[in-house]
Symmetry: C2
Subunit: 109 residues, 2 copies
Amino acid sequence: MLEKTTRMNYLYDFYQALLTPKQQSYMSLYYLDDYSLGEIAEEYKVSRQAVYDNIKRTEAMLEEYEEKLLLFEKFQERKRLIARMKECLSGESDHQTLTEFVAAIEKLD
Amino acid sequence: MLEKTTRMNYLYDFYQALLTPKQQSYMSLYYLDDYSLGEIAEEYKVSRQAVYDNIKRTEAMLEEYEEKLLLFEKFQERKRLIARMKECLSGESDHQTLTEFVAAIEKLD
């Protein structure tokens, strides 16, 4: 059975633009809308195995993209840093501007 | 004639991991080492036209990746924000920690 992980949700989020429309549909139904393999198979009039194989291949592709581009890893690192910056900033009132910049950086990812 | 742009240098930097070894070689010689098309052709024992076509196709691929993932656009935006954060921080001495975080965020890209 495929494992539905938070990691895969993130990888899909970062790299979905690089997938085919069909890969996007299967992944979106499976990971975002929580469809079962059987439900997707029924929806697309294909075998459950075909859906499983497609999703497995797509997952491997997403992991390859992450290995090459590290978007998720960098995102996590930035998130961690930004959280600490916010901790530093909290309690001080004259840093409104800085706080806004930090929020803006966060919004980019 | 191909135009050697700063933009293409950046796009190559962001997406080179997604290219084939041959594409990487041609692009690296042309954009980073400033080889001419003729020099690359000689190096690889192929026609100048073949090198030109390969580089043109690779450039188009890089633009497509950027259209889909926007890594360069986001990078520029973060750089702009980080520069302004640094302006805010300069002149104050009690923000060593924050300054280090900002530097760390910058290093991520």
